[in-house]
């Protein structure tokens, strides 16, 4: 069926001839423009690393899962160059793989959380999120004692001396659901669930349609309406492709349990910043881990259980 492939050159020549003979109307003009554009792009690819070629490389970049090791090397080098160009900072871009036999879970003791928002601050610094417009992965909600009404929760409470009388605090971030609605709704599969339970985004594959933001019942996802503004001296140089590298404009982002830290055995940044030790993190498949013990001994609950999202983020009082 495809034997006539060799004749493609002839066909193009023929069609070009026909085009050239015709009068130039708008459609034909655009066709000619396209041919000329491709020709210039191809010509540019022969001359070193020009801006045009970077754009072409970006345009032709594959999905993260389909990239070969060599592709990744080229892509990472390009991203590093871009960060150097835009922010004037040298960074390391890693790509830690999910560990075998590990599934991450988070537990949070609401009796201890005092609403100091130290976790939010640490998260922003670790993950290079935009300061203006402001993007924060963790939202600390202040709720009246004895109620669980998120409609009346206050996210903007004043924190001169916390905890306030008669209030308690629920920090909400990405729940890394086992049945994630955001993944199901993505039209281009730019977000997916990794074997260790973390839902990640390929920022270069995301088209910025924000369907996932609407689908998420925990308001965990944020959209980069503008190019992220991060002060040069506050940029965290330890970056990873799927988590905390500086995002381009027009893509979604969310908490990834600091996978550039946790996949190397460290705790997430929010846990290390918590002054009360309310946060616990570990491998749910290991029966000796902290989270497994908590799940065994405490009465834990998840947020919006009725939606069947199966969150891997557990809350408890003790």
């Amino acid at each position: 069926m495809f034997r006539k492939d060799t004749r493609w050159g002839e066909r193009i020549k023929k069609s070009l001839d026909i085009l050239l003979q015709k009068k130039v109307d708008r459609r034909n003009f655009l066709k000619g423009f396209f041919v000329a554009g491709t020709a210039t792009a191809l010509a540019a690819s022969t001359k070193g690393k020009s801006l045009k070629q970077e754009t072409l490389e970006k345009f032709l970049q594959n999905h993260y899962k389909e990239m070969s090791e060599e592709d990744k090397k080229n892509v990472f080098a390009r991203i590093k160059r871009e960060i150097k160009r835009d922010y004037d900072v040298d960074v390391t871009l890693s790509d830690p793989k999910p560990l075998p036999g590990v599934k991450f879970a988070y537990c949070l003791n609401l009796s201890l959380c005092n609403g100091s928002r130290y976790c939010v601050e640490a998260c922003v610094k670790e993950n290079n999120t935009s300061r203006d417009p402001q993007i924060q992965y963790i939202k600390v909600l202040e709720i009246d004692r004895g109620s669980m009404n998120f409609e009346k929760a206050d996210r903007y409470y004043d924190g001169e001396s916390v905890p306030h009388e008669g209030k308690y605090y629920i920090p909400v971030q990405c729940q890394q659901c086992d049945n994630p609605p955001c993944v199901k709704t993505c039209p281009v599969q730019a977000t997916w669930k990794e074997p260790d339970g973390i839902v990640v985004i390929d920022y270069d594959w995301c088209i910025g349609c924000r369907y996932c933001q609407v689908a998420c019942p925990y308001e965990a996802r944020s959209f980069n309406f503008a190019t992220p503004s991060v002060p040069k001296d506050e940029i965290n140089p330890n970056q990873s492709y799927l988590s905390n590298r500086i995002r381009p404009r027009g893509v979604m982002e969310k908490c990834t349990f600091c996978l550039h830290r946790t996949r190397k055995g460290l705790y997430p940044a929010c846990l290390e910043a918590c002054p009360t030790g309310a946060r616990k993190f570990g491998n749910i498949l290991d029966p000796e881990s902290e989270v497994s013990r908590i799940l065994k001994e405490k009465k834990v609950f998840v947020l919006k259980e009725e939606l069947n999202t199966v969150p891997q983020f557990f809350y408890y009082f003790d």
Partner: protein, 162 residues
Amino acid sequence: MKKIFLIICVSCSSFLIFAGPHIEIVPRENKIKNFPCMECHKQSLSKAVKNKKDHRELVLKHMPEVGACFLCHSKTEPNKLNLLEGQKLGFNEAYTLCGQCHGLRLAEWRESIHGKQKGSWAGDKIKLSCTECHDAHNPKFPKFKAVPPPKRPKKAHFQEEK
């Protein structure tokens, strides 16, 4: 002879494999302001010491109705603490003393459920002793000054006050 070597080898290696992660408890003694106590309390509780008025800023909100220093501190050896049964122990092992009343909390702390930790979720852990976070004389957590709240989104035009 070979058999004995084999047994030793197997037992040692199995110990190394099954020993589990190393847990380090952060020592406290180098963080206490007036430690070692013996510098002042050499002649224990003589008049010279009593007139120094060094610990007057202490607030006792931990069983204030008891208010007996020597329930926990050793009278004869000021560098040490004493358990209810009379054994002496150093300030680094103060968690054992706290566990006399707060046994359930201590058990949780030993299982890494209670308290803050550093290190790695997979391996070696660095644990903080009770008195690292709780003031032994006033163990309730103080009020914190929180990080400023997120910016409120701009109001839409129809919401603006006239």
